[in-house]
Symmetry: C2
């Protein structure tokens, strides 16, 4: 089992920022990444659709023999993680609970700000989990919907991005946020910009790094951690491998070589879904 890969999935490319952190922390692990580029983005889709898509992907990754699942998509993590944990025989973690766990470890937090896509913030899951785990802490959430396209378009340091960051973040800064949780896998690319808008005294917690740390603990608990050999990253996408190669390399910080094209909504998967309902 130890030599089996870790399955990581996202609606598209963003989850590669989680893969990058996993590889930094767990360099011996094989990673099998699925990006659902045919059906990206999940953000504005209904919970039922997100659950169905996530199950299909988990099934596909399980059929490839993964030893653990990482839900690197915030929307899927919000709406489908419980179902995945209940339905599949391998341990599964999601970016949202990992981000919350990381916030709980920050010293002297009084007021946490959470930023993410509109769907993540609307799901309210970050806010609920933070209030549950840190009942004495104030939580303020704000959607930053333009950050994803700005990150994908390489607008990481432009004046326009600074203006938009100020639109989104000034209310959080003025509310007295001392710790800001980056609740979207695209946001690490904009980290310097976000830090500048919030000011140097505000601590940033990034859910990608937090997820890699939680995964390390999870693997150790289950005695699943691989301790030697060179880890590799294999990617499967459901559409457009070329675009994935180009933009994905920005997220991973190095070129992507192996990309397989495979739909998660294959006929076999769809049939099982129909049979199950």
């Amino acid at each position: 089992v130890i030599n089996q890969p870790i399955g990581v999935f996202d609606s598209g490319i963003g989850g590669l920022s989680v893969v990058k952190e996993i590889q930094r922390l767990l360099p011996h692990e094989e990673i099998l990444y699925f990006g659902d580029t045919e059906r990206v983005p999940y953000g504005e889709k209904s919970p039922e659709t997100i659950q169905r898509f996530s199950s299909q992907i988990a099934e596909l990754l399980l059929s490839r023999g993964v030893k653990a699942l990482v839900v690197a998509c915030h929307t899927a993590s919000a709406f489908a993680l419980d179902q995945i944990q209940a339905s599949f025989p391998v341990p599964a973690i999601g970016v949202i609970s990992c981000g919350v766990a990381a916030c709980a470890k920050v010293n002297s937090v009084a007021h946490i700000g959470v930023i993410g896509t509109r769907a993540t913030i609307r799901s309210n899951l970050y806010q609920l989990l933070l209030r549950k785990q840190l009942p004495q802490v104030k939580v303020t959430a704000a959607p930053c919907p333009l950050f994803v396209p700005l990150a994908e378009e390489g607008y990481w340091e432009r004046e326009a991005s600074h203006l938009i960051a100020r639109d989104y973040l000034t209310p959080l800064k003025e509310a007295g946020v001392d710790t800001l949780l980056l609740g979207c896998t695209h946001y690490p690319l904009l980290r310097p910009l976000i830090q500048q808008a919030m000011g140097p005294e505000v601590r940033l917690v990034d859910s990608a790094t937090a997820t890699a740390q939680s995964l390390l603990l999870l693997l150790d608990q289950g005695d699943l951690r691989k301790r030697s050999g060179e880890g590799a990253i294999n990617c499967i996408v459901s559409d457009n491998p070329d675009r994935f190669r180009t933009v994905g390399s920005l997220f991973l910080g190095r070129p992507i070589e192996q990309i397989e094209l495979c739909s998660a909504s294959s006929r076999a998967n769809e049939k099982e879904h129909i049979a199950a309902h």
Copy 2:
């Protein structure tokens, strides 16, 4: 036949700017709009996928008795219009050829700029058709990928949007473009911003208005134009009607009432697709 609706489809919400112009020009027509919100955006998907999705939608609209089809999605118009015209028994037009036809009517054009999503510009179809129809005219194309999210987020007049518009459009202005084709159904919302970046002397041609004009001609040619009664708009979306209602109203300029939820990739449709291949 005259009393049957006109079928209009798009990958999502943007095609409603075409519907708005159709209703202005042809107020008696019934319109049946399909927005494929489950699978939006089409822009980065492969041509084969776009053709399959478009055929499924055309089939669905035909099964609802439409008398004509308007492909209000630029990506589908680029990759799937030929196939739709060849496979279905009603007349069909697409936003791209309509935009080109409108450019051909502008007086004393010497240099046309075309802007659109990355996929539209990469498809090269606007450029090819313009060069074919107007061989003496110079054509310069530029993708403006951030305009869609800026339009959907209501960033129509913000300083950040002006900066981004200048990034995209200054090269076109400096190249001496005298006529600019707005090759994306989202762009009419940013029209004042685009006009300001290009300067008052540059004429803007908008593919939504152009498509409504072509549709009028098409209906008259086939004796299909409805000349009395109040037209209604009925919408079908494949996911998330609430978001469609909110953002769609911005595009339509008035509230949307009737929204039906229906997937185009239904089992029946998928079966036919499988059988056909």
